[in-house]
């Protein structure tokens, strides 16, 4: 029993144990996905002409200030709307709740640039609202009255908040639904009213999901080009475009981008830190129906208004205007090409969604299986693609694929005497890769959150019953996180469909998606021509939203065997 080494600290004899299929695969994929980002950083760090000091002394402070204001505005806006509506529809009972459950997701289908074009059309000096006001009050010039300027920072915050809040809504709603009602009841018994129980129990418990939702929103905000360009709000992203396209300075753009990347890096780290501090597993095997506070009188009216406003302004009104345009301009808007563009869009987005989900599952499960530091680091790094503005990522993809193509070409010519030309650059593969780099975080984050809610005892039970990691994933985790996987697929699909800046740059010659088609016309203020294509983007966006809302309605703890929604 007595051994000499008893007092020595236990040796970790598993130095090479991380070398297994899951880890190698996940690290390789993560490395591939980070190539464009690393490329951008490398270009950014490479000293070029004095563009850098010039930028720092002139526009940089403005870019940073505006970007911060935009982020704070959109962050607070989406947080308030998303969490409040999620709480109302999941915990309270009032007329129309079942409709709002899915209707609140509708604005997700609306790209920010589309509603920016539409609201500008409605609210500008020559738009119907101001015309009506002038006629009612007999004003004749702009100086006689005050009207909010839509093409401003405030306008951009409003537009983005209106279409981005569903991310927060979706994730916090799922978190509220998955919460054990017991803890809420415990809080009520301890003397806290529903209102205080919400702030002291439900909200802290849902914090990881809400933080993920808001961080997704902020990353989207940093990425947006269409809206800020149209409204002429000088954000970082716009600055990068400006330096790149107007000053034709790739290095300068990449240098600006690397600053932005640094910024985003801290955002991601802060989020991860908050998440790590609180790991919740739904250990309770007992579920009961959600409390369903019945609202009466004024509260009921307020609840309905709270839920209706985001839907009306984020979807119903702009969609109505869009439909109106489409009817008026039906002849001009329809073309034989439209169907082809639509098919391109569906194919690209579907491919990206399938790949992103498969890789997301692989990596999230890899992290769960082997809690390796290198793997976790790689995965976090790969997730930063989402925060990188599409244009910058496009530069990264173009440069890295170009280098790869040249490398292969050179190798083949040197060894086999023939040229392969450009294999990947300017192909659908390049566009798909771009989407993947950008949207992998979306899929990974959603799947990881969903996976994190399955107690590790499930893994232990399945493994002890003779099922290996793959079989356990297939038979236990995948069915349990079906909702999360579905949500991940939908999020990636819809976002790929709406994606504009990267598609414009990476697409093959003469290849159009619905988004690039709309952009081409709308930026020339020919919204009528593009209305049908825009409507098609919105329509495709809605379809998955409907599927998702059905899944949400069916999966309620205690009512079905499906425990996990998102």
């Amino acid at each position: 029993m007595q051994t000499t080494a008893d007092s020595a600290p236990p040796a970790r004899a598993e130095y090479w144990s991380w070398v297994n299929g899951w880890t190698i695969g996940a690290v390789l994929i993560a490395a591939t996905v980070t190539v464009p980002i690393v490329t951008v950083i490398l270009i950014g760090l490479t000293p070029s002409d004095d563009v850098w000091s010039h930028l720092a002394s002139t526009v940089l402070p403005l870019y940073i200030g505006t970007t911060l204001q935009l982020m704070i505005g959109v962050g607070l806006g989406t947080l308030t709307i998303g969490v409040a509506t999620a709480w109302l529809v999941s915990m309270c009972r009032f007329p129309g709740r079942r409709i709002f459950e899915w209707a609140l997701l509708l604005p997700m289908a609306m790209p920010a640039y589309v509603i920016a074009y539409l609201y500008t059309d409605i609210l500008e000096f020559a738009g119907p609202i101001q015309v009506l006001l002038r006629e009612l009050f007999g004003w004749t010039s702009k100086r006689e009255y005050w009207f909010p300027e839509i093409r401003s920072l405030g306008g951009a915050i409003s537009m983005m908040t209106l279409v981005l809040y569903p991310y927060v809504y979706l994730l916090s709603r799922a978190a509220f639904m998955e919460q054990s009602v017991c803890v809420l009841e415990a809080s009520r018994v301890l003397g806290r009213g529903p209102w205080r129980s919400f702030f002291s129990v439900a909200l802290p418990l849902s914090r990881p999901a809400i933080v993920i939702g808001v961080s997704l929103v902020l990353m989207e905000t940093l990425n947006d080009f269409g809206t800020v360009d149209f409204f002429a709000v000088s954000t970082f992203t716009l600055g990068i475009y400006d330096v790149w396209l107007n000053m034709n300075n790739v290095a300068g753009a990449a240098q600006l981008a690397s600053v932005l990347l640094f910024f985003v890096f801290f955002l991601v780290m802060a989020e991860r830190f908050a998440r790590r501090k609180m790991r919740f597993h739904n250990a309770s095997a007992k579920y009961s129906a959600l409390p369903g506070y019945k609202l009466e009188g004024t509260k009921r009216c307020l609840a309905i208004i709270c839920c209706a406003l985001p839907v009306v302004f984020g979807f119903v009104l702009p969609a109505g205007v869009l439909v109106g345009y489409a009817i008026v301009n039906f002849e001009a808007a329809t073309s034989a090409e439209l169907l082809r563009h639509a098919r391109n869009s569906v194919m690209l987005s579907g491919l990206a969604a399938a790949l992103a989900v498969a890789i997301g599952i692989f990596m999230a499960y890899g992290v769960r299986l082997r809690n390796e530091r290198i793997l976790k680091f790689m995965v976090r790094f790969a997730s930063m693609g989402y925060a990188v503005p599409g244009s910058v990522l496009a530069v990264g993809v173009l440069v890295s694929l170009g280098a790869l193509d040249n490398g292969i070409d050179g190798f083949m010519r040197g060894n086999f005497g023939f040229s392969t030309g450009l294999l990947f650059s300017g192909t659908i593969a390049a566009v798909t890769f771009g989407y993947l780099v950008r949207f992998l975080a979306l899929s990974f984050g959603t799947i990881e959150a969903s996976l994190g809610k399955i107690t590790p005892h499930m893994d232990g039970a399945a493994r002890s019953l003779g099922h290996g990691p793959v079989s356990t994933l297939r038979r236990i985790h995948l069915p349990l996180m079906r909702g999360g996987v579905l949500a991940a697929a939908i999020l990636v699909f819809v976002d790929s469909m709406k994606e504009l800046p990267m598609t414009v740059i990476l697409r093959p010659f003469n290849f159009h998606t619905l988004a690039t088609y709309v952009h081409q016309f709308a930026s020339d203020e020919q919204l009528g021509e593009a209305s049908l294509a825009a409507l098609a983007i919105v329509g495709f966006g809605i379809l998955p939203v409907i599927v998702l809302s059905f899944a949400i309605a069916r999966a309620r703890p205690g009512f079905s065997n499906e425990v996990q929604v998102l």
């Binding site: 004899a13 039970a461 019953l465 003779g466």
Partner: protein, 381 residues
Amino acid sequence: MKGLHIYGACHSHGNQQVLNNASLLVPAGELACLLGPSGCGKTTLLRLAAGLERLQKGKILIDDTVVADSELHVPTEQRGIGLMFQDYALFPHLTVIENVTFGLRGLSSAKARQRGMEMLVQVGMTADASKHPHMLSGGQQQRVALARALAPDPKLLLLDEPFSGLDTNMREQIREETLRVLKSSGVATMMVTHDPEEAMYMADRIKILGNGQILQSGRPHDIYFHPQHRFVAKMFGLMNRFECVVDGGSVEIPLGPVQAQGLEEGRRVEVLVRPEGVTLESNGGGVPVEIQSTHLLGHDNIVRVRLTDEAQCQPGQSELYVRVHHAFEPELSKRITAGVDPDYVFIYAIDEEGAAGAEAACRPSHAKMLLSKSIRAVAGR
């Protein structure tokens, strides 16, 4: 030898050493209870046996096959074990029968279903075969979890606090049923619990885990009547404690002299007396005591008494806890006297430094030292 064999397992979580050279043996057909206070490493030891954690040092064998040492780690799914968690971990998306047949790989679905139903018959759950776990009560979920763990006929069954989620009445019933099912299966079972009564009821052998080591292993009777360690003695609830000096081969506690074999003269010792070792009598020949309060527990009565003659007590030692049969009604008699049953008295030397905290370093001083088979087997290597 069939069953589970752990040699010198060491494990740390970060800087915190959880297990320090823990060794145990659970032969086939035997039910061993791993008993210890919360956070003593019981669950870690179970997880090591299951392969859910990597062994840092030591060796684990199941049916004479090494499944883990500092180099080797056989994955959980290849160890042929059954595992049952405190929360049962039933798969919520599968029905009861699907849960039970989950581990029956390589059987045709008809055969698997047949075996699954056999298991459900054993635990009396056939009527609920097509229900989903959330439709079952806690006791029913426990039965399904047991059937699921036993269905693949594991070499070793590991139970992690299997009854702690149940209410008292249900717990006793389920405990009884579980014992019956386990005995008929003949599987080597290691159960983790923090409830000494549960361990006494269930176990063929109890293994007391403290300070990261197995402090004592033996039949419930041995553990209860011959604790080799003050930590083990104290596992079973409140003790009456006295500090004395050995004098003439015995110690003098307020209740009278007690034999102290094998202890050197003049040694300071700690004397622990179980509440059931103090006897109360009406007008008997013992030490006079005064009743402070009585608490009826059903079969037993816990009585708090104070020694009337405080002169012979050290400060703070004049109060005693006594467990008597409920038929004894001390209120009715005027003069009560207390005596002591030496079978319930345990004497341990106090360290020269006077540090009672360094328990692991103390050698058991009880005259009848029992070296359990498993410890001896390990020591023999």
